[in-house]
Amino acid sequence: MSKEISNWGHYPKIEVEENSFSSQNQLKSILINQKSLIARGLGRCYGDASLSNEEIVSTLKFDKILEFDDQSGVFEAQSGISFEAILETIIPKGWFLPVTPGTKYITLGGAIASDIHGKNHHAEGSFSRHVIEISLAGMDGNLIKCSPNHLEDLFWATCGGMGLTGIIQTVKFQLKKIETSFIRQIQVKAKNLEHIIELFEKYQGYTYSMAWIDCLKGGNGFGRSVMMAGEHALLSELDSKQKMNPLSIASKPKLMIPFNFPDFALNTLSVKAFNFLYYTKHPSKIKESIIPYNPFFYPLDSILNWNRMYGKKGFVQYQFVLPLEQSHRGLVEILNRIRKKGMGSFLAVLKLFGDQDNLISFPMKGYTLALDFPIQKGLFPFLDELDQVVLDHGGRIYLTKDARMKSEIFWNSYPKAKEFKDILSKYNPHSQFNSLQSKRLSLT
């Protein structure tokens, strides 16, 4: 029986059959019968990357931990396990994820398919850099293993490959050693765009850094921001209370948004008010503190279903990256257009990426900005305009957040798209693995 499924932006919504599997045997029988499908984990991409009109395979029941060497930090698990479950197991033993995005409610398979990045990209790259081996179920359910040394084309196509090379089964990767589960955080106010860019340069020695940016302020305060940088705290840096449980895990969130807010809840005014409030909440210019990992890495997770605040129509998240030389110019132009249009963005996150150049993985050296837009009349043509600006500056859009980008923009902005498609024709020749997104972008 089909059910209504949508991802984090609640757009698009589709009705489709969804099957699950908890062993490879079970998946094999699904793959033999289904000739067109896509895998889906926790549905935390924003658009249609893990949606298909034919069939969706949920990986959530394929979630067993297979290996955890708490001396070397090598960890292997099935693709349906969540980052939350991984953290619960590894933190008490003094280990952390090598790369994590802004939510722990994603699956390991999703982390590979999106080749996720985090606040430490400039220092430690994206998730794929830390992966030792991946196994996938190809056509007809046969298991294939790949790594940077074996079937490298399949490995690099799978990382960031949006699930199009097969159904990811297991991932073996290297964890990061930590002394405590706390973070030494530093918060610095930036009065405008030039200032925040200076700060990113100044603080690039920190392992973790990002900034919250007010993208609606004009005039002198254009691009005003708060940078948050951090390091894993050492045992000696904790206070006596924190020292009592240095490797503590986050407790479950208590606040949940139980239903969709009405559509007007997040209009321009409320966004302006929020940004102003957020900015002036930090009284002094620089603020240092030792905080648990949960609010540093996952501030929004404490509000379960926060995406419901965007109402029934849902929202689109727009994330792009611009090459370093073009970043300032490009950000000025894009932020100005957004401000003039008044379509408002509730949350805007700015990050500096380090070098990366893999097939269709998103990051490149330069600045990335992520913004939310509630779906409203006129939004999509406006985003097409922004796409062109991004393209003109040599940048590209993050597929994991994308719900509407046109095919030509994708092909013109990812120089290795052709190479990726060639690898797909080898491992997914009949386009058995395809999604609404892959069809829209002419990848399958």
Partner: protein, 243 residues
């Protein structure tokens, strides 16, 4: 050390039970038919919870092997949970005989076969808990699933008789009657969200019922009231309904 045997550990509720008991430091024996799943599940439980885990093949239908299955356990478990169930593929009237036998075996005969043996062993030892996952479907036969329902009805009556037989021997028998649960078995049904429990929720309710001394557990609790109403509808009226 406390240990628990889970028959049907590959199922959604079975997995939730195994994880919950492991988190409470029970050593676990997981049994089912999908050996690949059981093998990876053993690793998962050991890594997450640092408890001893064993696994072996168990088929509810295969009565002649139930003796050797128990022998290979090395010890009679402190707690044994039967969480094997099968609803059939089609409406009861359209179900062929082979599938009918599967329904009756999985939900009733298989349980009777293994629980008879475990009951004797626990009685001799003068301690233990037997837990059977039956269903509210067993409380009244209805047109949409009377094969599954009658098998579960048989199971519920068997469990209450066993409870009666074992009470003076220090062995408890708990009947669990879930309403709707969100699992692979009900994947293709449209279930009303408020009435439908999650596997983890069912596992927790079962665990708590051990502490609270319950004999019959409804999950979610209001099914007790719903079934009271269903049971009391006069047959003259019920036989015309389309439940």
């Amino acid at each position: 050390m406390k240990n628990v045997l889970i028959l049907g550990a590959g199922s959604d509720v079975g997995q939730s039970l195994a994880r919950l008991f492991a988190s409470k430091s029970y050593s676990i024996h997981i049994a089912g038919r999908d050996m690949e799943l059981l093998e990876s599940f053993k690793k998962d439980l050991e890594i997450r919870y640092s408890v001893a885990v064993n696994f072996s093949y168990f088929d509810a239908d295969d009565f002649s092997n139930h003796d050797s299955f128990l022998k290979n356990l090395n010890q009679t478990p402190d707690i044994a949970i039967y969480v094997i169930g099968y609803m059939g593929q089609k409406k009861p009237m359209d179900t062929d005989w082979e599938d009918t036998l599967r329904i009756v075996s999985a939900n009733y005969l298989g349980a009777v076969s293994i629980f008879n043996r475990l009951a004797k062993a626990m009685k001799n030892r003068k301690s233990g808990i037997l837990i059977g996952i039956s269903s509210v479907a067993g409380e009244r036969g209805r047109q949409s699933n009377y094969l599954y329902g009658s098998a579960k009805a048989g199971f519920s009556t068997y469990l209450s008789g066993l409870r009666n037989a074992l009470i003076s021997h220090g062995v408890r028998v708990i009947t669990v009657k879930p309403g709707f649960i969100n699992t692979s078995m009900t994947e293709n049904l449209k279930l009303p969200p408020l009435l439908t429990a999650q596997p983890d929720e069912v596992a927790l309710a079962i665990y708590k019922s051990i502490q609270s001394g319950k004999d019959i557990l409804y999950v979610r609790f209001f099914w007790r009231t719903i079934m009271w109403i269903i049971r009391n509808i006069p047959e003259k009226i019920f036989k015309k309904l389309s439940l």
